[in-house]
């Protein structure tokens, strides 16, 4: 039961229900001895979308990708690609291109030979291979680098060659295993946009594995958030950020304050001595212990008046300067021992003269106060 938020118009995923399913994973389980890396995973990937497997290390995202590729065989479950059951096929009998974290470029072959590696084997005439390689190198923005060896290329250039090589055979599925994590921050940002634009242009169904939530939010049409071998949530970036299905998702993507609370009637929850209204209580019974979740940037200090809902008096205990904004640690006076992190823009800090030790009135908007069952939150 997910609350669908407004989707930015730039997201072309459209109405996903109408798109054909390219990859269908059903009840996939993978065990390594006593350890279960994937627990009965089911997922559908639509044709032409860029889907991200996101999660902390060890969550099973790479295992799932390697199972799709046939590099690690699942113990149970079924994988269909384009309507064909490939569950038991070796990698060479499946249709995909892959880019590894290390790129795995052949160091003794030129960039052009690397890109053409899969083409030469297909009895294509040499001239045709050359033309295709040229086209691919142009596609990834390296038209003049074909004669160089991998060691003579920068990290970003190597990454593009790996991408061109994976695309050379026109696979129907592109698998990217943490493709940007070996690059410096600046190159990473640029390549992020380039890969996304290229994927849109070619319309190739793409799975991107990453542990970087920012990368997933910026690139994906949909994000699959994974933890401990299970899928926590599948949704658009706006959905997983704005309406996290579980406390794990809320905490892993962006930051979330968690407050011990008790349901106190319809749309009402009590934190210490503070009674708050939340539009997300649902059908929970009064007296149920819950956690309230609130993102730091949703705490408001501007335009807070006497008739604003859910206001608390808080004292600024710490103010961390983070450039564009400041992160404040607030003690709520009516609920001793409860602290909140709040992000205030540089403007707000300046206009309101916020400084450490100051008391202020903060509003916790009812629609931003999410309700999670009490047991779910482990990390706090």
């Amino acid at each position: 039961m997910l609350q669908t938020l407004e989707r930015p118009s730039s997201t072309p995923a459209g109405d996903t229900n109408l798109r054909p399913v390219h990859l269908r994973i059903s009840n996939l389980t993978k065990r390594y001895g006593a350890f279960t890396a994937l627990k009965s995973i089911s997922l559908e990937v639509y044709a032409g979308e860029l889907i991200c497997f996101l999660g902390p290390s060890g969550c099973g995202k790479t295992t799932l990708l390697r199972a799709v590729a046939g590099l690690d065989m699942q113990n149970e479950g079924r994988i269909e690609m384009g309507g064909r059951d490939v569950s038991h096929l070796p990698p060479s009998a499946r249709d995909f291109g892959i880019v590894f974290q290390s790129y795995a470029l052949f160091p003794n072959l030129t960039a052009a030979a690397n890109v053409g590696y899969g083409l030469v084997n297909r009895r294509m005439p040499r001239a045709k291979v050359e033309a295709r390689v040229k086209e691919l190198l142009e596609l990834v923005g390296l038209p003049d680098q074909g004669s160089k060896y991998p060691a003579q290329l920068s990290g970003g250039q190597q990454q593009r060659v790996a991408l061109a090589r994976a695309l050379a055979t026109s696979p129907s599925l592109l698998l990217l295993d943490e493709p940007l994590s070996a690059l410096d921050a600046r190159v990473r940002l640029r390549l992020r946009d380039e890969i996304k634009a290229l994927q849109r242009r070619l319309g190739v169904t793409t799975i991107l594995v990453t542990h970087d939530q920012e990368e997933a939010l910026a690139m994906a049409d949909r994000i699959v958030v994974m933890n401990n071998g299970v899928i926590e949530q599948v949704g658009t970036p706006a959905e997983v950020y704005g309406a996290p299905a579980t406390a794990f998702v809320a905490d892993f993507i962006g930051h979330m304050n968690f407050l011990d609370a008790e349901i106190a009637g319809p749309d009402r929850a009590r934190v210490g001595n503070v009674l708050l209204r939340s539009t997300n209580v649902g059908g929970r019974q009064s007296g149920t212990r819950v956690k309230l979740g609130l993102r730091p940037e949703e705490i408001r200090v501007r335009g807070v008046g006497p008739d604003t809902e859910n206001t608390v008096t808080a004292r600024v205990m710490l103010l961390d300067y983070l450039g564009a904004f400041c992160r404040a640690t607030l003690d709520i006076e009516a609920a001793p021992g409860v602290q909140l992190l709040a992000d205030f823009s540089a403007n707000a800090i300046r206009d309101l003269g916020i400084c450490e030790g100051q008391a202020l009135t903060a509003a916790l908007p009812p629609e931003s106060l999410r309700v999670f069952s009490h047991e779910e939150v482990v990390s706090e």
Binding site: F96, F100, N108
Partner: protein, 564 residues
């Protein structure tokens, strides 16, 4: 949308054509290794329980252990091997320390000099020591009346022979130092002596253990030295030879062989066990240690290295010089008379060409099998049992003395029921035996090189639908070319110099140069033996120089991609 719950028990992947090729390859490798290593050794064990073709249980062993002269050899062997270890390792440590941790000039030259003994048969130094300290030796007086024929001579020759191997291991261990530890120690004002005991020694203790076990194993299993300079001092290796060649008592030879196997296997197992405990001491962020000049220390080590280097070259030079002396010690004019090998050995020069042929065959065949085998073991997918078996068989020969393996081959290849007995006494059997004897080090070299290659190459080729053997030829082999050349040269040099592995195995027309040295020495033609040994050294060194040239070509011209 039906989501049928699939209750497949375990992953069973359809095998592609490539999977089949790989599995068949691993199976063939296992069969080859079983034939070349496991079966002969098994048969040797079986023989040691037989007498005149009947099973007699442990009776042969009972006879062995109740014969005082034979049991004395065990103590003799242990004594020389332990003494050689105690002497060689500190000498090699100081030399390796100078090469890695001081500002010694001409480090490359000193390293090359230390490696010289590797290119000679082990018995070359024994011949030299006979010329120096023997009955007619020119420095005989230095021994103060003691005889060089016995433990003294054996020890000197063993130290000479084992020194380069210990230096190699210790140089490797000493080069893996984290400079930050030394900077931290210096920042805390630690004395040099304390740094040595608290940082240097703990950092290389595994290298020291490895070097010690290697020297011990080389010493206890070496046959040539004790044969040439041992005199009446019996050791296990010469006992095997005497039982088999002297008394034609093959069963008792097998028993002694197994007794000889025990210390070698124990040393090997303990070393493996200790190495397994060694976790990577060097983190990725380690900073290489740059030795800073300390004048007095550097001069002291320079003097030490010059002394050791001069001894190494000098001892080698004595054998070379002696081989050109017309008639020691009466006619010291130089001539090529001692190179008329046909006068001292009925097979004469033929043995040298046999050696060349055998060594070339071992190098080509051995390198191909070792590298392809290591590739299948390291990069194969699935079929774990087969790969594990192949790896185990590849590691086995390290623990088996050459003499024992050679004897095992005699039983195995000679057996009337064995269809392979048509190969008895051929160059091929000699080459296979040599490959088997030196398999482990070559296998480790290949596996190490393969481990450094990105493990995803095979996955990438599978995704591009390129069969793995194509990637093997186009990518893996070119990348590993330096390691492949190393293995080939290693096989060639060892095939030229080895005595113990082949002394039982040659046929009427396939006698080898190294065996001819033993025979010429036995017959009293020591100068001829020195000549043949010199010839082997020159050949082995020539091949090594060729290796350098090829390496230069491979790195410099054909492999432009290695340059940044």
């Amino acid at each position: 949308m039906t989501m049928a719950a699939v209750a497949a028990p375990a992953a069973a992947r359809q095998l592609s054509r490539e999977d089949w090729v790989m599995r068949i390859g691993i199976t063939i490798l296992c069969v080859l290794l079983v034939i070349a290593i496991a079966l002969p050794l098994g048969l040797l064990l079986f023989k040691s329980f037989q007498r005149d073709g009947h099973f007699v249980g442990l009776a042969n062993y009972a006879v062995y252990f109740s014969t005082p002269t034979l049991v004395a050899s065990i103590w003799n062997s242990l004594f020389v091997a332990i003494s050689a270890t105690v002497i060689t390792v500190p000498l090699a440590f100081a030399y390796a320390y100078a090469l890695t941790r001081t500002c010694l000039p001409l480090k490359g030259v000193f390293m090359a000099v230390a490696m010289l003994p590797i290119f000679a048969p082990s018995l070359l130094s024994a011949i030299s020591f006979i010329y120096i300290f023997g009955n007619q030796g020119f420095l005989k007086e230095l021994l103060l009346g003691a005889s060089v024929y016995g433990p003294i001579g054996i020890l000197m020759a063993l130290v000479y022979y084992c020194f380069p191997f210990a230096v190699l291991i210790l140089v490797t261990a000493l080069s893996l130092a984290d400079g930050r530890l030394y900077e931290a120690a210096a920042a805390l004002g630690t004395s040099a002596w304390r740094v040595f005991w608290t940082v240097t020694v703990p950092g290389i203790k595994y290298g020291l253990v490895s070097a010690s076990f290697l020297v011990f194993t080389l010493s206890i299993t070496d046959f040539g030295i004790a044969k040439v300079i041992g005199g009446q001092y019996n050791v296990l290796a010469t006992d095997v030879y005497k039982q088999v060649v002297g008394q034609q008592n093959f069963e008792m030879g097998a028993v002694v062989g197994f007794v000889l196997l025990v210390p070698a296997v124990v040393a090997f197992a303990v070393d493996r066990l200790i190495q397994r405990k060694q976790i990577a001491l060097l983190s990725a962020r380690a900073v290489p240690l740059e030795p800073k000049p300390v004048r007095r220390r550097d001069v002291a080590f320079l003097v030490y290295c010059c002394l050791i280097g001069a001894l190494i070259i000098g001892i080698l030079a004595v054998a070379v010089w002696a081989s050109f002396v017309t008639y020691w010690p009466y006619n010291l004019s130089l001539s090529l008379k001692n190179y008329n090998f046909d006068e001292f050995d009925p097979h004469g020069w033929e043995t040298y060409f046999n050696s060349l042929e055998m060594a070339s065959l071992a190098a080509i065949l051995g390198t191909a099998v070792v590298f392809v085998g290591a590739y299948l073991v390291e990069k194969g997918q699935g079929f774990r049992a087969g790969r594990a078996l192949a790896h185990f068989l590849a590691m086995l020969p390290m623990a088996v003395p050459g003499l024992v393996l050679g004897l095992a081959y005699v039983f195995f290849v000679n057996a009337p029921w064995n269809p392979l007995n048509v190969f008895y006494g051929t160059i091929l059997v000699l080459a296979v035996n040599t490959i088997a004897h030196f398999y482990t080090a070559a296998h480790i070299t290949a596996v190490t090189a393969l481990k450094q290659i990105d493990s995803e190459f095979e996955s990438v080729s599978a995704s591009l639908k390129v069969p793995f053997w194509r990637t093997f030829i186009r990518v893996t082999v070119p990348i590993c070319m330096p390691a492949i050349l190393n293995i080939a040269v290693y096989m060639f040099v060892n095939a030229m110099t080895t005595v113990s592995a082949v002394i039982f195995l040659y046929g009427p027309s396939t006698k080898l140069a190294s065996v001819s040295i033993v025979h010429m020495d036995e017959a009293g033609f020591t100068a001829g033996a020195a000549g043949m040994a010199t010839l082997i050294v020159l050949t082995a060194l020539g091949v090594k120089l060729l290796h350098f040239a090829l390496d230069w070509l491979v790195f410099g011209k054909l492999q432009a991609w290695r340059k940044r």
